[in-house]
């Protein structure tokens, strides 16, 4: 077995989650890193403080030494990536596995968010809310979205390809409009400001002090100080792992095989005894469930959110995640999510770094002066976050680069990050031979 990892003698072996030793080891390392990220691990922090590294000018000049994130602003970006990964895994079931392109994922996220808000939120004079604990509202959000998915699917099953994509795009607009109606405002609150969403605190029922408080700083095991950000991250990381296992398992089961058969050739699948309608309905329901849970997590992470946030741009982000990551694979989807969600953060910190550079002199400062405007000089990008018109503010600059990145990526690597990974893997498998 150890010598011939690709020799499968049974069906169970072939479909197991982590078939090779490399994958087992890599997955183990990834899980350990995932849970260590929010802490300052003393060993790693100390090693980056070595004199050798300290003498490299780039590191001593402002770039923080390599370490895990601790309680930094990057942790929030990571949280977002974890939530979006859950939603993207859902879209991967629908689009990657069953081949049904949907631009309505943001709509299902919104449905989940407001189901969760009604179940778990606090009632006021203008919005509904039943203040139920998280173990009800989080699954409830998923189930609510899944029910809406089932209601929509009879329309969706009749359509294929771009017709389906555009109809689901219509759902997004209809959904945002519905939050503006009188009864929609009871769910979504004021159209401009939004409503308060429930917090992540884990309670048994409606008692005053939560069983596990996630929104307050605390100390674990008597010695480990954890902030609320770190707790939120760990909570989301656990959910993220749960949903990865769920998505992987769906891909291995009868349902997953049926969905893939429908994607590859729907008539052939039906001839072989795969009921198309039933499995497309299952795909819609499952995908909406994932989206609903992610939407509820996203909304309560934001705290307060207008319904217009669940817009077409969000749906497009998920399609971009799938295509950049590589359609149809769980690991590709996860890689794509981290890439798409974290890239704007990198761009942002790069711009901040450039803005600092303009103060100095030398070639770096000259380059920075061309790109960045600090107010008086005319670069295309402004260092201030709120500038109307040209020069572009950092936020708009992020969006422009994000759009450009999608284009460049798909032109040069149509298979996505997963394609790059396959190429690297094959190179090392065949090394030292080139083919």
């Amino acid at each position: 077995m150890f010598l011939r990892p690709n020799l499968y003698t049974s069906y169970e072996e072939e479909t197991q989650m982590l078939p090779t030793y490399t994958k087992k080891v890599l997955a183990g390392i990834a899980i350990i890193v995932l849970f260590l990220i929010p802490f300052d691990v003393p060993l790693i922090t100390a090693s980056t403080d070595l004199p050798v590294l300290r003498n490299i000018p780039v590191i001593s000049n402002g770039i923080p030494p390599l370490r895990f994130l601790g309680d930094s602003s990057w942790l929030r970006a990571m949280d977002e990536a974890l939530m979006f990964a859950i939603a993207a895994l859902g879209l991967n079931i629908l689009t990657g596995m069953a081949g049904q392109v949907s631009l309505g994922h943001a709509f299902f996220m919104g449905v989940g968010a407001y189901t969760g808000a009604v179940l778990g939120g606090v009632a006021t004079s203008s919005v509904w809310g039943w203040s139920l604990p998280i173990w009800i509202w989080l699954p409830g959000a998923g189930i609510g979205a899944a029910i809406v998915g089932i209601i929509v699917s009879p329309v969706a099953v009749k359509l294929r390809g771009l017709y389906l994509a555009i109809v689901t795009l219509g759902l997004v607009f209809i959904g945002i409009h519905m939050s503006n109606t009188n009864w929609g405002k009871k769910l979504a609150g004021d159209p401009g400001l939004g409503r308060d969403f429930p917090t992540y605190d884990i309670r048994l029922w409606k008692e005053e002090t939560p069983l596990v408080s996630i929104d307050d700083d605390g100390t674990w095991f008597g010695f480990l100080d954890v902030t609320d950000n770190q707790k939120t991250y760990l909570f989301l990381a656990v959910l993220f792992l749960l949903f990865i296992v769920l998505a992987k398992n769906i891909a291995r089961t009868r349902t997953g095989r049926a969905l893939q058969a429908i994607r590859d050739r729907d008539i052939a699948a039906e001839v072989m005894g795969v009921p198309e309608f039933k499995y497309k309905l299952i795909a819609f329901a499952t995908s909406s469930f994932f989206a609903g849970v992610a939407g509820a997590l996203f909304a309560s992470f934001a705290g307060k959110l207008p319904a217009s946030q669940f817009s077409l741009a969000l749906s497009v982000e998920f399609i971009a995640i799938l295509l950049i990551g590589g359609v149809g694979t769980v690991s590709g989807t996860v890689m794509g999510t981290f890439f798409v969600v974290l890239t704007p953060k990198f761009v942002e910190s790069f711009t901040e770094w450039l803005a600092d550079k303009t103060e100095g002199d030398g070639i770096g400062a000259k380059v920075a002066d061309v790109v960045i405007s600090n107010g008086s000089d005319q670069g295309p990008v402004s260092a201030a976050t709120q500038t109307p018109g040209y020069p572009l503010n950092v936020f708009d600059w992020n969006l422009v680069l994000y759009g450009a990145l999608i284009i460049v990526f798909l032109i040069f690597e149509p298979l996505g990050l997963y394609g790059i990974w396959i190429r690297i893997r094959n190179y090392w498998k065949r090394w030292p031979f080139s083919y």
């Binding site: 359509l159 555009i166 708009d396 969006l399 284009i407 798909l410």
Partner: protein, 357 residues
Amino acid sequence: MARLKFDSTEPSHLVGLALLVGGIVFSAYQLATGADIYFTTLLKSLALGSVYALIALGFVLIFKATEVVNFSQGALAMIGALFISFMVADENLPIIGFFWEIPNPIYQLGGPEWIRWGLSVIVALGFAALLGLVIERVTIRPMIGQPLFSVAVITLGLEISLRVLANDAVKISFRSVDAPWGNGGFNIGAGFVNWSYFAAMITAAVAFVAVFFFYRSRMGISMRAVARDQEAAMAQGINIGRVFAIAWGAGAVLAALGGLFATQQPIKQTGAIDQDTSLIAFRALPAVILGGLDSVQGALIGGLMVGTAEIYAGQYLSGYTSVLGSGYPLIVPYVVMIIGLLVKPYGLFGTPEIRRV
């Protein structure tokens, strides 16, 4: 024309018949009670339908030639309208990222106002076509042979980048397109009709007639051949790259015209470009889908149907705003589209995809 034969076993025909009868009864009742309002609403809906049909025509031209749904049509519409605004209203033209400016030659010209305006629009449409060509060459040409869905997502990426850049241009300054007909019009009884309605209708009519004749020219025939089968067209010696380029250039011009009318009545009161201008393409998508993605007459009929539904719903259902929510006419096109697709999954005139085992 066997398609138009009535068949009582076909559900779509029954739905069509019901709609027709309902429409005639409704029209007769409204004509008897308030003919002036009914007529102005009709003109308004034809105008809106024409704008939707213009944009839908852009989608269809590009889709027929390249099999790509161009989601960046809205951004192109907004940029086209911006080009028009620059040519019409600015003494100096900004070049590339507003780094330097050159004097605007048309602004210096004398002569009647409307000639100067027409000239600026033509030049601006030329720039829009150029932009379409550049986009096609840089982002679409390398993707020939790749999955169609990847190409559609490339246009979504284009939409994001271009829309943000265009939005930044209108964030501080009021960008008017200075249409010569202004906000003027005339009254029919209690209803008011804008001149811009007629401008939109005439433009759409000219565009459709032009496309009709273009499809009968040599280039148009090769375009239709490419739409049928790319490889077979290539084997006949048709230059596919040129067909792609012409489709995108024409698509960008139609988008720019759509953007121009998106700033006019009945869509906007102000006559200025704002951040909603790029949304016009998403509002026109139901027209494309309802008519069928690959049909020119579908674009026209779908556009008129969707525009009519939107304006009539806005006019005659306004008593129910408390139930439907304010701004409900904007989602009427999507509702019409979903109901229409339930009956005909490939639109009214779309070619059903042939499914093989």
